[in-house]
């Protein structure tokens, strides 16, 4: 039998090498009896990656920059080099060390001041458990993670990319994991159209895996000129996350993108924002809050009478209105249902009324079907507003689906380029020269008020030809079309009968 020709291998890149390391790590974890699916495997990989990245990015770099003054956050024998690089520490001995010493030690770290990275480590490790039952497989996994390096900027970028792709995959895993993942093009579009400036504080009160914060940081970091500007930028990128898993993933994501001590708080953002003071107010809020979710009654009761609802999206919007500085701005994702809510007794309508009284709701971007699939098919919108006084008019822009598509799907998600039409129309930071088009239309604030604060306003240009015609006009056109069809059929019949 002739030998089968070997297919040419894809050229190796550091991205593919990393992807293959991650694959080996996942395969190793898959063999362990204690791991069930990506939702177990990802946290396990993440906390190990976190420790390795922290060791190289913060501890080793800190020592290199300041050999005498730098004090390590993690002391011996818990430093990465003490236990992770020792191939003889394996099996039950390693498992016992990790479970009984390492994790409790890290969870118990206390920082000297607010920006001390030990606070981040202890918050993360408070909820970390080693889910692997085999110490030998754990050793294999640690060895793989030890082969991943975060030394050069390229390495970090590559790892950040690979990590984000894992987060994206996790969105597809079963359960409700998708709730803390916003598609990258949506993150980027919202950040881009918020026209961030260095020195502004940016908050995502439902920061999840840190998509908005990373994007905001990426948007601003090239403007940094001095070390104090860099520190200030790190302090200005802020997040709040309630759940331990997304908190771990988000901290890791920020760390990989170069923020050594991420300013992400593990807390219930609604309570945190209700209890915040004027000093905590921020310049920009970028967020995709959970919608349809419910909060416990103590959280709901923290809101003023008349604004108490179980719908988390409303509670977030209400809190954000307070959390913004005067002149501050916000981009928030909200479902169609929230835009529609009307009626005298509707809390949604009351909050929209407050929004339009306190803020200039200048733009509503209507997203196409399936942007958040497969997690949800709920049609969604992005609201852009500034706390600069009442709304006079609202511009709507409907992002169309690409030709021939009915929806975005898990395998064919939205691309950033598909926002290009909206970006061109936007008119820059000052929103100059906006014109109505087949995708853009303007509604006066009085009209929204008269409709009971219904913002679920359909594109008036869609189906211009048909939906707005009278029945007589439609019947006339049907007759005309029918005549054309008849003529065409006659031509076709004659064509088929033709001879050579």
């Amino acid at each position: 039998m002739a030998a089968t020709k070997k297919k040419p291998a894809a050229p190796g890149t550091s991205r593919t090498r990393l992807a293959s390391l991650i694959k080996s790590a996942r395969d190793t974890m898959r063999k362990d009896a204690g791991m069930n699916g990506d939702l177990d495997r990802l946290p396990q990989l993440s906390w190990l990656l976190f420790l390795k990245a922290f060791d190289e990015r913060v501890e080793q770099e800190g020592e290199a920059l300041d050999p005498d003054g730098y004090r390590r956050a993690i002391a011996a024998p818990y430093r990465w080099e003490d236990w992770a690089t020792d191939p003889d520490l394996s099996g039950d001995e390693l498992k016992t060390f990790v479970n009984e010493k390492l994790i409790p030690h890290l969870a118990g770290l206390v920082g000297d001041h607010a920006d001390d990275p030990r606070n981040v480590i202890s918050t993360i490790f408070r909820d970390v458990t080693n889910r692997m039952q085999s110490g030998t497989l754990l050793r294999d996994l640690v060895n793989i993670v030890n082969d991943i390096h975060f030394v050069s900027t390229d390495d970090i970028h590559t790892m950040a990319f690979v990590y984000e792709s894992i987060l994206k995959e996790m969105r597809d895993a079963a359960g409700d994991s998708g709730e803390f993942y916003t598609p990258r093009p949506v993150n980027r579009f919202m950040v881009q159209q918020s026209f961030l400036k260095l020195g502004e504080s940016v908050l995502d009160p439902a920061s999840g895996t840190g998509g908005f914060l990373v994007q905001a940081y990426e948007d601003l970091k090239d403007q940094v000129r001095t070390d104090s500007e860099r520190k200030r930028l790190h302090a200005n990128i802020r997040g709040i996350e309630k759940k331990p898993l997304p908190y771990l993933l988000g901290s890791m994501n920020l760390l990989l993108h170069g923020i050594d001590a991420p300013q992400v708080h593990r807390a219930n953002a609604l309570l945190e924002m209700r209890n915040s003071t004027a000093a905590d107010r921020v310049d920009v809020v970028l967020t995709n809050p959970p919608f349809g979710g419910e909060e416990e009654s103590s959280v709901v009761k923290a809101f003023p009478a008349g604004y108490q609802t179980q719908e988390t999206a409303w509670l977030f919007l209400y809190s954000i209105l307070d959390q913004l500085k005067r002149g501050g701005r916000c981009a928030i994702v909200l479902p169609n249902g929230s835009l529609f809510a009307t009626g005298e007794n509707s809390i949604g309508a009351k909050i929209k009324k407050k929004l339009m009284q306190d803020c200039n709701l200048h733009t509503v971007v209507r997203l196409p079907q399936g942007v958040f699939s497969p997690y949800t098919q709920i049609p969604s919108n992005i609201l852009f507003f500034e706390k600069t006084g009442p709304t006079k008019e609202v511009w709507f822009y409907e992002v169309p689906l690409p030709d021939g598509r009915r929806s975005y799907t898990k395998t064919k998600p939205m691309q950033l380029e598909e926002f290009a039409g909206c970006v061109d129309w936007w008119g820059g930071e000052k929103r100059e020269g906006r014109e109505p088009s087949e995708y853009a239309w303007k509604v006066q604030a009085e009209e929204v008020t008269a409709s009971g604060f219904n913002l679920d306003i359909a594109n008036p240009h869609i189906g211009d030809d048909l939906a707005h015609r009278t029945p007589e006009e439609l019947v006339d056109e049907l007759i005309k079309t029918e005549m054309q069809i008849l003529g065409l059929l006659k031509d076709l019949g004659a064509g088929l009968e033709e001879k050579r």
Partner: protein
């Protein structure tokens, strides 16, 4: 004309006649289609097979509201054909108690204003299920003219809708244009053919594979199966090349792309550009015996499609093996007829495409008639 708004609870009364379900008895259930498309009957089943919901009797002449899909127009009036049927607790059955013509109300709920009213009293943010409770529905206020006017409008709408439905029912569907496009190809190709030839005698299979990370060459776009329209051979989209994840095939202008996954979709395209396609498409490169336009037309024709369907029949996810495709007989058209045969094929396909577009336009017009009538009726123009 300003109409007086009436609370629905004043003119409608909820009717709940519970059914004591006997596990061994047979029951027929109703369902309601969204967008005003009326009641349908589910297959009869035994009481033991009914869901755990409570069941109620359905009587003719009631306004039946699906409590979870009413916002999407799942509201209808029961007729005599629903006598003896049952409906789960998801179906709210209302009888008229005041001066109200239920047909008028039903039409109102299908109009833009009526739909918005129902939506405003339905709660929930889930995409499809937004529930309207009897209390919320009965508290909603509807603009109602006097009874005679309600009846006049409902009579007129009944007559119009009946005609629209009849017209839509008797019109040939778009499938006619598709079948015409491919069966017409057989006729036109036969006109110029002299015998047959095997596919592999006029073109060869090219496997120019591009792996992730490799140079794309001249290719700038990806044209996958989803970018080719069935039967008509049109490219209806593409996407720019980026970080391609899986391997792809490279094609050049003049190649014929044949979709071999689910080949009954008949996605055959004569490429006019460089690009990458999915590995579920064969790239066929003509050898000069017959031009690509004619090879593509032969592969798209009804007779070839029939052979392909026979060869892949009964497969769960049919794929046509390349060997089978290459061995297929297609009409052989000699060089002296190429130019005129191509003109003939193009003429036929152009007309078939035009017919498809006109039929699509006709379908859209017919769909728009219904809301246009409702709009006219509830803005006092009928």
């Amino acid at each position: 004309m300003k109409l007086q708004k009436v609370r629905l609870g004043e003119v409608l009364q909820l009717e709940r006649i519970a059914v004591d379900v006997d596990p061994d008895a047979e029951y027929s259930q109703i369902g309601i289609r969204s967008f005003g498309n009326g009641i349908f009957h589910r297959d009869p089943c035994l009481g033991s097979e009914l869901s755990k919901l409570k069941y109620f009797e359905v009587h003719p002449g009631r306004l039946i509201v699906s409590n979870i899909m009413a916002w999407e127009g799942a509201i209808a009036i029961s007729g005599t054909s629903e006598q003896g049927f049952v409906g789960s607790s998801r179906f709210l059955s209302y009888q008229a108690v005041g001066d109200v013509d239920l047909r008028y109300l039903n039409y109102y709920f299908q109009s833009a204003d009526g739909r918005a009213l129902i939506k405003s009293v339905s709660t929930g943010t889930v995409t499809r299920n937004q529930t309207v409770s009897p209390r919320n529905l009965e508290n909603a206020k509807v603009p109602l003219p006097d009874f005679a006017e309600q009846r006049r409008v409902a009579d007129k709408l009944d007559a119009f809708m009946g005609k629209v439905n009849y017209t839509a029912g008797v019109m040939p569907s778009q499938e006619h244009a598709r079948q015409l496009a491919i069966s017409g190809l057989d006729r036109v190709l036969a006109r110029w053919a002299e015998g047959t030839t095997r596919v592999d005698q006029v073109c060869s299979l090219v496997n120019d594979t591009v792996h992730p990370g490799q140079d794309h060459g001249h290719a700038k776009e990806f044209v996958g199966l989803e970018h080719i329209s069935p039967h008509f051979g049109r490219r209806i989209g593409s996407r720019p090349l980026g970080d391609e994840k899986g391997r792809k095939f490279r094609f050049a202008p003049g190649d014929v792309l044949y979709g071999y996954l689910r080949p009954y979709l008949n996605k055959v395209w004569h490429a006019d550009q460089h690009g990458l396609c999915s590995v579920e498409q064969y790239v066929l490169r003509p050898n000069g015996q017959m031009p690509a336009e004619l090879i593509a037309a032969c592969l798209r024709s009804k007779s070839t499609l029939n052979k392909v369907i026979d060869a892949t029949h009964n497969l769960q996810l049919p794929r046509l093996r390349s060997g089978l495709l290459l061995a297929m007989d297609i009409p052989f058209i000699p060089a002296e007829h190429h130019e005129r045969a191509i003109a003939d094929v193009q003429g036929l396909e152009e007309n078939a495409r035009r017919l498809d577009e006109l039929q699509q336009h006709r379908a859209e017009l017919l769909t728009s008639l219904r809301p246009a009538f409702l709009n006219a009726a509830f803005s006092g123009q009928l």
